[in-house]
Homo-oligomer: 421 residues x 2
């Protein structure tokens, strides 16, 4: 078999460690030059392939590639662009195969969440149908931690660590001033349909009575009366009340507490505003002084406080993806499998993509406390190992982390026809 | 002179390093047992003195006191409680002196901002008038960095580092996805009347074109047309636009962009909501997809990424306060004085409280760029040294920082009469 090149693309919302996966892919491919030629990266994700904008990663120094491991966000650019079904837009798939063929690309590494697992599977299937079979490997990434099969998704552990630490720090702040100032603090976190990130806030509580006192999950229908009663009794008992609320918190009927009314390219609603909604309830009904924070992108880009476990796993799935490709695997995803022992351990195993694409893993109900307003011991046991260890980026003399900016040299185009995305 | 005890209290909004100042006070006092007896700390600040709730810090181990240096928020509790003027409430001052007298307290260390500098000065003056002279030393602390005389205020450097890093990280996130997703990102930061914290966001830009592209200061009247034009031209040029907005951003007539309508105990308006206000403008007028974050308490409690310079200075002013007390000083504040050399250096000097109380230091206009939407080179030269160095807290096996919780044993009450605050 003639040596093929590889294509790597970042998809969907970026994370603090997605570049660590890119680092794993590129460093491992460089170690296997007998099997894999160049690694091209899509400029801004899959649309880089459609536009034939292929970043030639061989132009980047070993040092720059190594620095990806401590650089947040998408170093090659990512996108929210969902390929239509073959019926709806056959031209897109044909274009991809045409570009891959023109650049002798035989390996497709797609680094994303559930939507991109689906795309990855389709590329694998359709490329075979179209007579240019490509080995498509999906590399898991999502702060939402909602991919099935894998014990957790790279990107989540670092958000979890950020949210747990931020909850702890802000809670100490509120606690120390509640006698005369703010009594209720609300931190709104990401997690559209699954409460994994909100649950991570629960790790901040190390002993009974510690904040957060209430967690609002998308999985548990919001009950205003129950919520306000709990806020009130917590303030009466502890002097203050800290709430971690998922952006996806919703009423019994599935309507979101805060719905900004916008939708993204995948048709998902753009959320944001649960915290001020809750704050208004607290003020109107209980009259307590409140503050709220909305971490938004800060939480998923916070490489400065990434989980060392997460960084290692993100690198490992990138490395494993290349190794699977070399072994001839196709339509698979390297999944993180948790060891059975009491001490946390993990290994990488391959998972079939057709069992992953478009399946959303929710929080098991038993990870949530019986009253629905906190995490259970089982939840804590699951979450705690994922935030273990610190992996600090290097800092410059100016007091800022030294994040790498790549040169991003594009490979020469080989196809005359342009493709408008 | 008979050996006197000391009283230490934390006042107003807490910070990531106010406990480092407490550590400096207590450790230094412990080294001078010949001069200073016990250090009592006010439970929840000055109201602890009014209620005769004095925390006996001698009951805390050396290890716990040392751990204050890496623990955020107010370990003894702080409060927003402004003493009225002597005319309005003489009973409060008489009560304080009574409590200090009953516990043989001759040193008053008050750790706060402008309001508490004023209280500190009054205590010094009135205690003399009332026949029980107390040496009152103010220890500077405010994330707002608006204290005069001192080059900067402990607490600010760590918020500045947090804001600079968060701006940088979130900007990388937005930049990597702007082709198909969010084009405008707004980070709202603290700073009621002075734009110091917003200015710190400017440090994230290391070269031309880097985010943040716009900074909104309270000092510069907000001009909607100019703002939207700049947002639009930035998106056209760079593909995305990042804005750091002070909560105190205001129109020409002094009205705040976002005014939640509440006031705190000092009569200050409770702000919050500039970011969503700006986001709505951007969406309505330009139609760009936006995201926004409101860091709120997260920024001032973020000990996990404190500036090493800030931690050192916070400790140093606490230490210097005790040394000044021992030297017989009164109604002074240890101020941080910047060296003249090119390389950043600093020393501690005493500053007279009557020149500090109730004076607010604004950003010099020349620290702001000519167009009013960014920082100048002079601003950068001032700010950059303050965020230098990292001073990480120790972490436990559970992946969380090990912040100390003190025992807070109260001294036995000596006054029968209760005082209701």
């Amino acid at each position: 078999m003639a040596k093929k090149n590889a294509f790597y693309a970042q998809s969907g919302g970026v994370t603090a460690v997605i570049n660590a996966s890119a680092c794993g892919v590129i460093e491992t491919a460089r170690q296997h030059k007998k099997h894999i030629g160049k690694v091209y990266a899509g400029n801004n994700g899959i649309i880089g392939a459609l536009r034939e904008e292929l970043i030639d990663t061989s132009k980047e120094s070993a040092q720059s590639i190594a620095a990806l491991k401590h650089t947040p966000a998408g170093a090659f650019g990512s996108c929210r662009y969902k390929l239509k079904s073959l019926d709806e837009n056959r031209a897109e798939y044909e274009r991809l195969i045409e570009v891959f063929k023109a650049h002798n690309i035989g390996y497709f590494f797609y680094n994303g969440g559930g939507d991109s697992a689906d795309t990855c599977l389709k590329i694998s299937q359709l490329s075979a149908t179209m007579g240019y079979p490509i080995q498509a490997i999906h590399i898991p990434k999502t702060v939402d931690n909602d991919l099935p099969f894998t014990d957790n998704s790279p990107g989540f552990g670092s958000v979890a660590k950020y949210v747990a630490i931020s909850t702890k720090e802000a809670s100490l702040d509120v606690k120390s001033m509640c006698e005369t100032s703010t009594k209720v603090f609300i931190l709104e976190v990401m997690g559209r349909h699954a409460g994994w990130i909100a649950a991570a806030g629960g790790l901040a509580a190390e002993k009974d009575g510690d904040a957060p006192h209430i967690i609002l999950f998308p999985e548990i229908a919001f009950n205003k009366d129950k919520f306000l009663k709990r806020v009130n009794s917590t303030v009466k008992k502890h002097g203050y009340c800290v709430i971690v609320a998922s952006e996806g918190a919703q009423y019994e009927d599935g309507s979101f507490l805060a719905d900004a009314g916008n939708t993204d390219a995948f048709g998902h609603k753009q959320l944001g505003g649960v915290a001020p909604t809750l704050a208004t309830m607290v003020k109107d009904e209980l009259g307590y002084k409140y503050h709220w924070a909305l971490a938004d992108y800060l939480q998923r880009s916070a490489r400065h406080i990434a989980s060392a476990t997460d960084v290692e796993q993100a690198y490992a799935v990138g490395k494993a993806a290349v190794e699977m490709a070399i072994e001839g695997k196709n339509a698979v995803m390297p999944a993180i499998i948790r060891g059975k022992g009491k001490k946390y351990s993990w290994t990488i195993q391959e998972a079939p993509l057709d069992q992953i694409a478009n399946v959303e893993k929710m929080m098991p109900r038993n990870y949530i406390s019986k009253d629905g307003l906190g995490i259970s011991e089982a939840g804590r046991r699951y979450l705690e190992p994922l935030i273990q260890g610190e992996n600090y980026p290097p800092y410059g003399k100016n007091g800022l982390p030294e994040y790498v900016q790549l040169k991003k040299v594009l490979a020469e185009k080989k196809i005359e026809k342009k493709f408008v995305v």
